[in-house]
């Protein structure tokens, strides 16, 4: 249990690897049958057929489109694509597996993954970093187990819903190349953006992306963290795990290799209830799925189908729209934002102004929400509550550009239309919040300020800076609607006029 004093810095030698699963939600059908890929909102066990429920005598029919999608991810992650691919059976007994084996891919007896040996670069905290991608492969999702009160330990029953069984998953496995949880989060953001740009997975759908992580510190054994329901939680789970392992090490408690589960409500990792022994999955090639020859044809067809990826898009934002690197990065990290930006720019071509509205204001409304809820699903919820579309932001930018309203007023308008969906110009008209720029009207108002602030006027005649005080009074009078530029000009003119 205990061992000798260790003299290494625990933070040095943190190694984190990821195993990401993402459902190919853009596919019409499951991986090996013609059931719908989208099982959300369906009654339990209604999205099944003889094949995906593992009835005797059925055979898997490989979804060719799934190969293409996995190929696109592989290329986007800079992987090599082998000449041919096959499927393997991973044999183990579990309730959620209709056949008691899972069809997946396996590289021990020969390479069968769709992609291998890739890498993905990302902006680490201090420097440009990259993580090596070990493999990208296809496999089928198992069914879903449902417990009383969502708690496996206390549940009196286990219900099985096979609606999800056979949904195509792409598994991406990285090498243990991460050294901080924050880098992991940055990497996962980038990965999400890639998957969204490829339009193969709606990462906002519940359960569509999952991530297991493994972490070892220094000489410590490798710990697997499972059951992390969203990418956002991975960083937290890892930070927790580092603290836990550091504490153990300080107390000279040996860290044993084990699998721990992330408790989403208590925000801790805990030892799996069932001790997972070293399983022998008895892998062998699935005889019912003939080897698929990928070859150059596959590769070149992928290249023609490859959409613009986040990196290219970012560069285009910088060069075409003259946005800053930072703003471009923020936009492309979230495909929805980037798309929003480009649609707005199409309506009113003022990229910098629009980007500014999106990055510094609109995003605030989405992010604000995330302080209260953690899941990506709730972010999507909030986003769908937003009544603001590209045309709104485009108009807002136009109004500001054409000096019809001040930036402050524009912000207030945005606040309002976010829930109402009214067009900014309508709000302006309705609340008459346009700036008062009629010189005659302004002069009259200034006249009355001068009358009531006589001593200030005298001061201002001596010290031109005091003119701002008079402008403030004018603003008070006009409830902030006076065009400050014009008003200040008029005030200054009036100050040098003879009394």
């Amino acid at each position: 249990m205990f061992r000798g004093v260790q003299n290494y810095n625990m933070i040095d030698g943190i190694k984190i690897g990821l195993e990401i699963h993402c459902q190919l939600t853009s596919l019409q059908t499951k991986l090996f049958c013609s059931c719908h890929c989208d099982y959300h909102g369906k009654l339990p066990n209604t999205n099944v057929c003889p094949v995906c429920s593992g009835l005797p005598g059925t055979l898997p029919l490989l979804n060719q489109k799934a190969l293409e999608y996995a190929g696109l991810i592989s290329l986007a992650l800079d992987c090599k694509i082998p000449n041919e691919t096959t499927f393997y059976r991973k044999n183990y007994f579990y309730l959620d597996l209709p056949k008691n084996f899972q069809l997946t891919q396996y590289n021990v007896y020969g390479i069968t993954s769709i992609g291998i040996d890739g890498k993905l670069e990302y902006d680490g905290i201090d420097e440009e970093k990259h993580a090596r991608i070990r493999r990208v492969q296809l496999e089928e999702d198992p069914g879903r187990l449902v417990y009383e009160n969502n708690d496996m330990d206390s549940s009196f029953y286990t219900l099985i819903d096979y609606n999800r069984a056979g949904v195509p998953l792409v598994e991406v496995v990285t090498e243990p190349d991460f050294t901080t949880p924050k880098d992991v989060r940055i990497f996962l953001n980038k990965f999400t953006s890639i998957v969204e740009h490829l339009e193969i997975c709606d990462t906002k759908l519940e359960g569509s992306v999952r991530c297991d992580a493994n972490i070892s510190i220094g000489e410590g054994k490798r710990i697997e963290i499972k059951n992390v329901g969203s990418f956002r939680e991975v960083e937290k789970a890892l930070s927790y795990e580092i603290t836990r392992q550091k504490t153990m090490s300080t107390h000279e408690i040996e860290i044993k290799a084990e699998t721990r589960h992330w408790d989403d409500t208590r925000k801790i990792t805990k030892q799996s209830r069932v001790k997972e022994e070293e399983q022998d999955y008895r892998y062998f090639q699935e005889p019912d799925i003939p080897t698929v020859i990928l070859g150059n044809e596959f590769l070149s067809s992928l290249k023609t189908k490859m959409p613009e990826l986040p990196n290219d898009r970012k560069n285009r934002f910088i060069s075409d729209y003259k946005l800053s690197e930072h703003v471009s990065q923020v936009l492309i990290d979230n495909k929805w934002l980037a798309d929003f930006f480009e649609s707005a720019v199409k309506i009113y071509s003022s990229p910098k102004e629009i980007a500014n509205w999106i990055v510094s204001d609109l995003m605030g409304f989405i992010d604000e929400n995330n302080h209260h809820h953690n899941s990506q699903a709730s972010m999507e919820e909030k986003r769908s509550e937003l009544k603001v579309e590209a045309r709104h932001i485009a108009e807002l930018a136009r109004l500001v550009d054409q000096s019809n309203i001040s930036r402050n007023t524009a912000k207030m308008i945005l606040n309002q239309i976010i829930t109402t969906g009214e067009m900014p110009s309508q709000v302006v008209e309705r609340t008459n919040s346009s700036k008062i720029d009629d010189k005659g009207l302004l002069s009259e108002a200034i006249e009355s300020v001068f009358r009531s602030e006589k001593s200030a006027v005298s001061d201002a005649r001596l010290n031109s800076k005091a003119a701002n005080f008079l402008l403030g009074k004018l603003m008070q009078l006009t409830k902030g609607r006076a065009d400050p530029k014009i008003a200040l000009d008029l005030i200054k003119k009036k100050l040098i006029e003879p009394d």
Partner: protein, 484 residues
């Protein structure tokens, strides 16, 4: 009135279509025959008299109404039995196992669908070794099938019911499955014709998998022509089975050809029962007299075939049978108060002894520690055999061998000694390991017990196979039906 049960499929179609007799008359005689002798043979797991009669009535009506020849079908009226490991919608599919004793498939296997479309009448499901694992049909939950030539002898297996029912005139043709000889072995033992087609020639959709990479569904009949008729109905590509070959199946014929180059694989004759070997050598004479060039040849890697076969078959079986956990379907058994591992164990203890033996052995050979030693080696043997065969088929059109190295034997003779039982598959497994088509045709008798000649052609050369088999059948003229 003539005994309609003894007609060939060709004669039935001819008779029904030309109103020499009605499908109902014929099927009634078949059902009567089943009722009379089934207690001696035990070929069926279930007989569907109502379904059969209903289909016969509809065929008669179609003919009365003068419907299009195509709609009536190429197998109009023919009574066919289906091995009970092939799914039939609405009719139980049990695999002769407790595990599936109440299982009714919600869909028809592709072969069943095609047979129905061809106008065939499904009279029932046929007995087999549990999950097709066996060579005698003794491992059936419903009891062994008896050999119609001598009911104290085994009928062979695992498609024992399919062969015995045809030999005993309980149906005109039947469907079996052949994983390591399961069609050819009982065909040989019961003196009927049985074909294992090229791997991928017939859809396996709806065949309950025992060893996917080895097995094919195949027809059985009294004559080569009958198996050809059935093949013409069931062969071809199937969207539900991606291992089916995508070139269209030709329309097979039975014209007999001469001048065939034939090689007798001597390793498959060496050391077998002398009566069988004698019969096979005289078959060589039959070919030689028909202007065929016939000689002995050698296939060295046959030595490893049996070990390779059993390794692969058991490995695949261990995985295929994992799904029988009684959760989604199965038999009545209350899971209350069981932890799920314990429930799995309880349920799976209901497999028969031979099935358990193969699951356990298969699990072992797939374990990561032994994978290389057994499974991988077994796969290499397949490659070796294929290479050797492709060289041989450059020299010969056809290879021949005995179907079985032994005569049919009495019940219980080998059942307690698995290795002895496995040994009798030595001559049939080559075709499964390499995917080539092979047919067993009646070659003669010894002590009143049938002997089968096995004819093997190269991949997809079913036509050559049929021509050779027809030539032999018409020349050798072997007795057809037993007296019951």
């Amino acid at each position: 009135m003539v005994n309609l049960c003894s007609l060939t499929a060709e004669q039935v179609v001819e008779g029904v279509k030309n109103n020499h007799f009605s499908a109902v008359e014929y099927i009634s005689q078949i059902l009567e025959r089943i009722e009379k002798i089934e207690s001696q043979i035990n070929a069926f797991t279930i007989v569907d008299a109502n379904g059969a009669l209903k289909k016969a009535l509809s065929i008669d009506k179609k003919i009365r109404d003068g419907e299009d020849e195509k709609k009536i079908g190429s197998l109009a009226g023919v009574a066919v039995g289906i091995k009970d490991n092939i799914c039939t919608k609405g009719l139980k599919t049990t695999c002769a196992s407790k595990i599936l004793e109440d299982y009714v498939s919600p869909y028809d296997a592709t072969v069943v669908k095609k047979l129905k479309e061809s106008g065939a009448i499904i009279v029932g499901k046929l007995n087999l070794d549990e999950f097709a694992m066996g060579s005698t049909t003794e491992f059936s939950r419903y009891g062994a099938t008896h050999n119609p030539w001598n009911i104290n002898y085994v009928a062979g297996g695992s498609s024992g019911g399919s062969a015995a029912s045809v030999a005993a005139l309980e149906c005109t043709v039947s469907i079996g499955s052949d994983t390591g000889g399961s069609v050819r072995c009982p065909a040989s033992f019961c003196s009927v014709v049985g074909l294992k087609p090229t791997y991928g020639r017939v859809s396996r959709f709806g065949l309950i998998s025992y060893a996917n990479s080895l097995e094919q569904i195949g027809p059985m009949g009294k004559t080569v022509a009958d198996t050809v008729m059935v093949m013409n109905s069931i062969a071809g590509m199937d969207d539900n089975d991606q291992t089916t070959l995508n070139n269209g199946a030709p329309k097979y014929t039975t014209q007999s050809k001469r001048n065939i180059r034939i090689g007798l694989v001597k390793e498959l004759v060496e050391g077998i029962e002398p009566e069988v070997s004698k019969c096979i050598y005289s078959a060589m004479d039959v070919f030689s007299k028909s202007d065929c060039k016939c000689e002995e040849t050698s296939m060295k890697s046959v030595e490893f075939a049996l070990a390779s076969y059993y390794t692969i078959a058991m490995a695949e079986a261990s995985s295929n049978l994992a799904r029988y956990d009684n959760i989604r379907y199965g038999f009545e058994s209350n899971p209350d108060s069981y932890e799920w591992n314990a429930y799995f164990a309880k349920i799976r203890s209901n497999f028969g002894e031979e099935v358990k033996r193969r699951i356990i052995t298969g699990t072992y050979v797939l374990s990561s520690e032994y994978y290389g030693k057994y499974y991988l080696k077994a796969q290499k043997v397949r490659t070796m055999l294929k290479q050797e065969l492709s060289a041989l088929y450059k020299i010969y059109d056809i290879l021949i061998a005995p179907t079985m190295p032994v005569l049919p034997f009495k019940f219980g003779e080998k059942i307690d000694d698995p290795l002895k039982m496995y040994m009798i598959d030595i001559d049939t497994v080559v075709a499964n390991l390499t995917g080539i088509p092979a047919i067993s045709v009646p070659a003669g008798f010894s002590k009143g017990l049938p002997i089968g000649l096995q004819i093997m052609a190269d991949e997809l050369q079913e036509q050559t196979l049929f021509e050779t088999a027809s030539l032999f059948e018409s020349t050798a003229n072997v007795q057809r039906s037993p007296k019951l």
